[in-house]
Amino acid sequence: MVDEIYNDWRLVSLSPWPAWALVLLGLAALAGVALAWWGLRRENRPWRRRGLVTLRTLSMAAALFVVLEPGIRLLQTSRVKNRLAVLVDGSASMAFPADAAGPTRAAVAGSYLQQVAPELAELAERYTLEFHRFDGDLSPADLGVLQQAPEPKGEKTDLLGALETAAGGGNAAGRKLVGALVLSDGGDNVDLQGGIAGAAREKLEKLQIPVSTVAVGGGSLQDLAVETVKVEDFAFVRNTVEVQATLTASEMQAIDVPVTLRREGQVVAQQTVRIEPGKREHPVRFRFTPDQIGEFVFTVAAPVYEGEAIRSNNSRSFVLKVIRDRVRTLLVVGRPSWDERYLRMLLKTDPNVDLISFFILRTPQDNPRAQEHELSLIPFPVEEIFDKQLKSFDLVVFQNFAYRPYRMEGYLPNIRKYVEEGGAFVMVGGENSFGEGGYQSSPLAEMIPVDPAGSAPNEQLFLPRLTEDGLRHPITQLAASPEANQQTWASLPQLPGVNVTRPKDGAQVLLDHPHLTVGGVNAPVLAVREYGRGRAMALTTDASWYWSLVAAGQSGGSSRTYERIWSNAIRWLVRDPELTPVRVQVVQDTVEPGQPVAATITARRTDYGPADGAEVQVQLVDAETGRVVGAQRLATGPDGMARAELEAPGPGAFKVKADASLAGAALGSGEDAVAVRAASAERSDARPRPDLLRAISDVTGGGHVEAASGSLPPLGLSDPEVVEVGRAKDRPIWDRWWALAALACCLSGEWVLRRRWGYF
């Protein structure tokens, strides 16, 4: 009666002996048989030998039977339900319409689950159904909730990740996942974004389960999107940059779309793309030449048309770092001189400088006593340089150059504008420079850091004096410590004369004359200033070459000082990042919507050591409007660094600007660019991809249907395995009388025969 509940049995050993003891007993039994055989090896009658060994073997077997205590284990077994995972897409793309002007894809998925509820219930009798919602992650869900189509919000669609997580799950030991049913629009933007190939295919096959798919949304949507933008991470200034973008069109009419490339609000290039109905991808190629170094946010944008499914995917921003290839330097010289020669040699041999020079070798007063064809002279291409090519230079140097004889008045405003817009300008002294060259009444006057004093050049020998500003400025840093720096300057040879000038307001005088004064202020020898976005420098002597050859002629001297001063000056003038007292570096130059903008600010003291405890004011500024959209106050650590994290602004191009000060003294400012994406990849691609879902099913052996079918696809599930559950009962079979009787009979039979045949 009780046995009726058991439907399976197994033969087991009920012996209380440990396994090793049973093994030893087994070996002893074998030894008993072997000894019997060994003792009978000289027996000439085989039937006797076989008879006795057989009896010994039977005796040992009977003894083992008794010791092993065999029994029958009665089992109550049942078929366990294996798992079937039902994965429902909860990513943001499910909020798009399934068809033009239709319900959302999430709603369609909800309706579908309602329609197939009876089929699911039938499946639930044989399988354990596990319902999940997935986007970038996988989370358990309730069928009832899924049928109500909760709002899809996930910013990613990771189909493969969801399947792997479901397969690796299993809420009970031994419960195997035998299949998966996926309801999705197929808009994967992680591993399967590029389709099923290579590693993605291998991962799918490794699941070893049939994945059946239900395509939600396969209808057509009207949409225009800037889907991809390809550009190098950095570009060289004044070198052509190519930006390749892909404009995708879905259900758009044949129209000409004006696509623009903007740099922080300014249009730098525009292309018109002809949209062809039926063609999805339309490549767009922009070519432009950046004329400034720095990091800039660029935006590729197309207009938004009436009836588009998604309005936020019509633009895409990226950050481009524009760097300098070499410092392109224009050297214009009024006449050959030793000062010119040494500067040219320095610039010409510097691998970081690309030198373009023009020397006036002959003035209208000179008579070379030769025909033009006997001379190597070329006309001075004023228009070419100062009108067409000017913007291509990083640095312009006027060395003892008078502009008037070359009718350059009309071009000087170009030079001023060039500096205003970020260029660098140096005027080196001589009888044709500053006031002597008539620059005080020229358009360059307000830009040059010094004003002429109105007196003739001073020809007294003098040793330039390092000023307060000069003690700290990178141009005049010739040694690591202030004392060594002072000593280096003091050891230089005296200079033979200066143009007499006075510093302009806003100029920094780095070197001045030790005793020549103008209006009570020592005459500047080396002065710098910021002008607009550019920088200007004035060196009021034409004998800086003394710091080269003459210095080298002194005991233990060399020309290193001359090279260092000019190298420092060039680096400062062209804004070498290494000489920037405040540096801002955004952690990511493209930020997804909703993510904060993080940046690292590095502040240096005036001696370029890390500024510990500097106050940093960070602002997030809209690059197109200049509006401040976020701000933060920070203090730097011992390494001079601080980390800012600003609230995520809306989509667009932004600058992170930082101003730092130490003990109330301003250290400087810096900035970096960041693009906040208008839409995540999830929200910018409206395409349903039933083809991807079908491919998943094909690879894994599952079925595929459209949600509109209202029925489940063929799931290709294997039958559940049989596993033990419930009760078990042991029934001994060793304690039967026949086992002992067999043992006794065999042993006594052997004994009797041995006695009879004379083996005792």
């Binding site: 050959p336 001189s337 373009i356 070798l361 003035t363 001379l375 002294g429 003739a456 033979p496």
Partner: protein, 247 residues
């Protein structure tokens, strides 16, 4: 003072005043001043040569020159204030001493330019200069300056070198750090340039006569122009013009 000396002084002064009028703002340091090397022996066989060349350079080019050269000992520290050194002679150089050699080595290494001009007619001075600089610049030997070198197109387009003589139709030189630092000629350039106080050429030029003298001046101008502008005329912008005129 006799009449001759008076006239000589007057003419010398007039030479000064006849220099092109320019705003000479910074005195001597801003002008080209020839340093003439002084050593034991006839270090100035053509005493009026540099003065005349300075005048010609001043009138023909935009370079501002000083009419008076500066005689300097080869071991003098002041040598370094004058990057153009004219070393002349009519016999092989004597032993200059280690101090002078060290001084010249630093001078050339840090950008000084040396023109060695032999007027002996036999090449002994030129050869001694070549040996001197081969010793000063270890591992270097005098090389023939090719006719396409920028030296021959730095201002004038010069086909071949010439001086008072055509002793050697080429010049030799030493290149240091990519620039021609020493030029050696044995054609007596100074002889072709020399003019006395009364305005007469001091030496006949042969075989080319006055045309050859003009060529010597042009070579002098080019040499100075090269010393001051180095390879400026090799810059890309000049090449099409020069190619066109060379045809």
């Amino acid at each position: 003072m006799d009449r001759r000396n008076f006239l000589t002084g007057l003419l010398a002064a007039s030479t000064l005043f006849s220099l092109p009028s320019r705003a000479l703002a910074f005195g001597e340091s801003s002008r080209l001043v020839f340093a003439q090397g002084r050593y034991e022996g006839n270090w100035a066989p053509r005493r009026n040569a540099l003065r005349r060349l300075a005048f010609e350079i001043g009138t023909r080019t935009s370079i501002v020159t000083s009419p008076q050269e500066k005689p300097l000992d080869l071991h003098a520290p002041e040598l370094f204030r004058h990057p153009f050194l004219y070393l002349a002679g009519d016999a092989a150089l004597p032993n200059l001493g280690q101090t002078a050699l060290d001084n010249l080595r630093r001078y050339v290494t840090y950008g000084g330019f040396v023109l060695c001009d032999g007027s002996d007619g036999g090449g002994a001075f030129a050869r001694s200069c070549e040996a001197l600089f081969a010793e000063i610049l270890p591992g270097q030997q005098a090389g023939r300056i090719p006719p396409e070198h920028v030296l021959y197109k730095s201002f004038y387009l010069v086909d071949h070198p010439a001086g008072r003589t055509l002793q050697r139709p080429w010049q030799s030189g030493f290149v240091h750090n990519g620039r021609l630092a020493v030029v050696v000629t044995e054609n007596d350039l100074g002889g072709a340039w020399s003019r006395d106080e009364l305005g007469s050429w001091e030496y006949e030029v042969s075989p080319g006569g006055e045309t050859q003298r003009e060529l010597a001046f042009r070579l002098g101008v080019n040499t100075v122009m090269y010393a001051m502008c180095t390879d400026y005329k090799e810059d890309q912008v000049h090449i099409p013009f020069i190619m066109k005129r060379r045809r």
